[in-house]
């Protein structure tokens, strides 16, 4: 991923590179490819958001416009990431969209109770998937006005 770690509009946290590839491709189609940053586990995501470790150059205040978060990830899973974001006053307002293969009600409920902004089940079919990603990108980046 060659994109800059600054001025990130969409932070994609996805451990599956193939899924990530599909998402990135769709976001690129709607010209969101340049302001996108992809990370493949929860620990990296937290470092990135809070400007720690590898991403110490980053400032917490430099918030992404939306975080697309997978739930099932190694080390720190998506729900943990979500909780940490929501627990911190500086980050709690960042829109988070959970994108997952899980249709488990448990996951949905937990996600919403932790304050997720949207919960999207990744469909198997490419058409539906790309449609969903495109709509998400459009909505959160171009339409939605997040509080600054």
């Amino acid at each position: 991923m060659t994109n800059s770690i600054h001025d990130v509009d969409v932070l994609l946290v996805e451990d599956n590179p193939d899924d990530a590839g599909l998402v990135i491709r769709e976001l690129k189609k709607i010209n969101l490819g340049n302001s996108l940053y992809h990370l493949s586990d929860g620990a990296e995501a937290l470092d990135f958001i809070f400007g720690r470790g590898e991403f110490s150059e980053r400032k917490v205040e430099d918030k992404p416009k939306v975080i697309l978060l997978d739930l099932k990830m190694p080390k720190v899973d998506g729900l943990e990431v979500l909780r940490t974001i929501r627990d911190d006053d500086r980050t709690k307002l960042i829109p988070v969209v959970v994108m997952t293969s899980s249709r488990e009600e448990q996951d949905i409920i937990r996600s919403y109770s932790l304050g997720v902004n949207a919960y999207v089940v990744k469909p198997v079919g490419f058409d539906n998937f790309s449609k969903a990603v495109a709509e998400l990108g459009m909505f959160w980046i171009l339409v939605n006005q997040s509080p600054r």
């Binding site: 599956n16 293969s101 490419f126 058409d127």
Partner: protein
């Protein structure tokens, strides 16, 4: 109260009192009778002796016609106060002399009384004694004895018998009252203990043995029985405890297994879908980005790959829905089945089956889990629509009726139907009676219906005939 229901002490006392009274009564009666007859016989003998003496003494008076002498002899009867009258008759039966002298009679003695005879007449003993000298009958002596004495004595005996009976009865009563205790006390004690056991279920108590007799043996046997029950109870309790432990163990194991299964299905839903998504996604990318470099056959091949990836996605979704059902609880509320059937039908007909004619008869309202029964209706109606697509005019009827505390619903179609031979496979998971080329489907729909209805305490069954249609029924308990 019936005799068999009286307490044992009353029975014992009754037995003792009746026995002693009977014995006493019989003894008294025999004694009484003996006295009566003895006294009668004695009286007769005494009177006959007296008669003989007087008759013998009066022979000369009779022979020599001496009334004075006869009177004198008869007057000696004064010594016997119970002789109230005596008359000497001559050979012909004419009165010759009489006693007491004042009681003169002129009545002639009939010939029938010439013979010796002693008998009781009313309360008198009368005797006729011939007066004989040598072998000549000189006359007849008549004696009349008052039996008042005898009857007086008999009355006395009777009174005494009654008094003795009463006294004996009282003595027997008080004796038996105490004596019966030796029998009834241990029995009553035993009865009390057994009652206490029946009331409190306490098998650790023991009856006290009061002697080595049969009741003692009974007590021993009773205690032994209690001991056995006690030990058996303990064994059962121990067994139950072990069983409970085992059940807990198994439940725990089951819970673990369930959790593992949940984790497994979670993994399946997540991890199985991801590669499919990639297969599908990248195949499409291939078609989109490199379409001009792939020939038609290549494109067709890629389409097949995409199709199968999607199909596997549906399979996984259905399977997950099916396994999720196992965990879900049934929340029963009163449901308007008409509304549900209407909504489901409208959605589906509008989507894919515009030529189908669906008739919804007025349906019963029933109790069940809203989302689950919606699922059931969806599956059945979609099946009916799906399998009747090949008919020129697909007709589907949805109805219900009430039977034996069950609300029964059915969905009837005139479609492909099925062979009753394979009925067993109808409701199995992944079991299909039609090939995917004929009708699409995962083989989970009816299994899901079966599972939901079973969870509701109802039943699912079907009737069908190849190419003539099928009717699927499900029943829900009213209570």
């Amino acid at each position: 109260m019936l005799l068999k229901d009286t307490p044992i002490r009353h029975k014992l006392m009754r037995a003792i009192l009746l026995t002693s009274s009977a014995v006493l009564l019989i003894t008294c009666s025999f004694y009484f009778a003996y006295e009566f007859f003895t006294f009668r016989n004695t009286s007769i003998r005494q009177l006959s002796i007296l008669g003989e003496i007087i008759a013998t003494n009066s022979t000369a008076a009779m022979a020599f016609d001496s009334r004075e002498d006869a009177n004198e002899i008869l007057s000696a009867l004064k010594a016997e106060p119970h002789i109230v009258a005596a008359i000497l008759y001559d050979k012909e039966g004419n009165p010759f002399s009489n006693y007491p002298l004042s009681a003169k009679t002129t009545t002639v003695l009939p010939k029938s009384d010439f013979e010796e005879r002693y008998s009781f007449e009313e309360s008198y003993l009368v005797g006729f004694q011939p007066v004989i000298q040598g072998n000549k009958r000189l006359g007849t002596l008549y004696l009349k004895s008052d039996m008042g004495a005898m009857y007086e004595r008999i009355r006395l005996y009777g009174i005494m018998a009654v008094i003795v009976t009463i006294i004996s009865f009282l003595v027997a009563y008080f004796l038996s009252k105490n004596l019966q205790k030796s029998i009834s006390k241990p029995i009553l004690a035993l009865a009390e203990i057994s009652q206490a056991i029946a009331k409190r279920n306490d098998y650790s108590v023991r009856a006290t043995k009061l002697g080595e007799d049969e009741i003692g043996l009974l007590t021993d046997a009773f205690n032994q029985m209690l001991e056995q029950i006690h030990t058996q109870n303990q064994e059962i309790q121990l067994f139950n405890k072990n069983l409970e432990l085992k059940i807990k163990e198994r439940t725990y194991e089951l819970e673990i297994a369930n959790k593992e299964l949940e984790a497994f299905s979670y993994s399946v839903s997540h991890d199985l879908r991801a590669p499919l998504r990639s297969i599908d996604g990248y195949s499409r990318i291939l078609i989109e980005d490199y379409g001009d470099k792939i020939d038609d056959e290549g494109k067709r091949t890629l389409q097949i790959i995409v199709k199968n990836a999607l199909k596997m996605g549906y399979l996984i979704d259905d399977l997950l829905a099916f396994s999720r059902l196992g965990k879900q609880n049934v929340t029963k509320i009163l449901l308007d089945m008409n509304a549900i059937a209407q909504r489901v039908t409208e959605e589906m007909v509008a989507q894919n089956y515009k030529t189908s004619e669906v008739t919804i008869e007025p349906l019963l309202s029933t109790k069940g889990d809203s989302s689950m029964l919606r699922q059931v209706m969806t599956n059945l109606i979609s099946n009916a629509l799906k399998y009747s697509t090949k008919k020129e005019k697909p007709v589907i009827t949805i109805g219900s009726y009430h039977e034996n505390d069950y609300d029964i619903f059915y969905v009837k179609d005139n479609g492909a139907g099925f062979d009753m031979k394979y009925y067993d496979k109808l409701f199995g998971v992944f079991q299909r009676l039609h090939s995917p080329s004929e009708f699409e489907g995962t083989g989970v729909g009816l299994a899901l219906v079966h599972r939901i209805i079973t969870k509701h305490g109802g039943k699912v069954w079907a009737e069908g005939k190849v190419n003539e249609g099928a009717t699927f029924y499900f029943s829900l308990p009213v209570f």
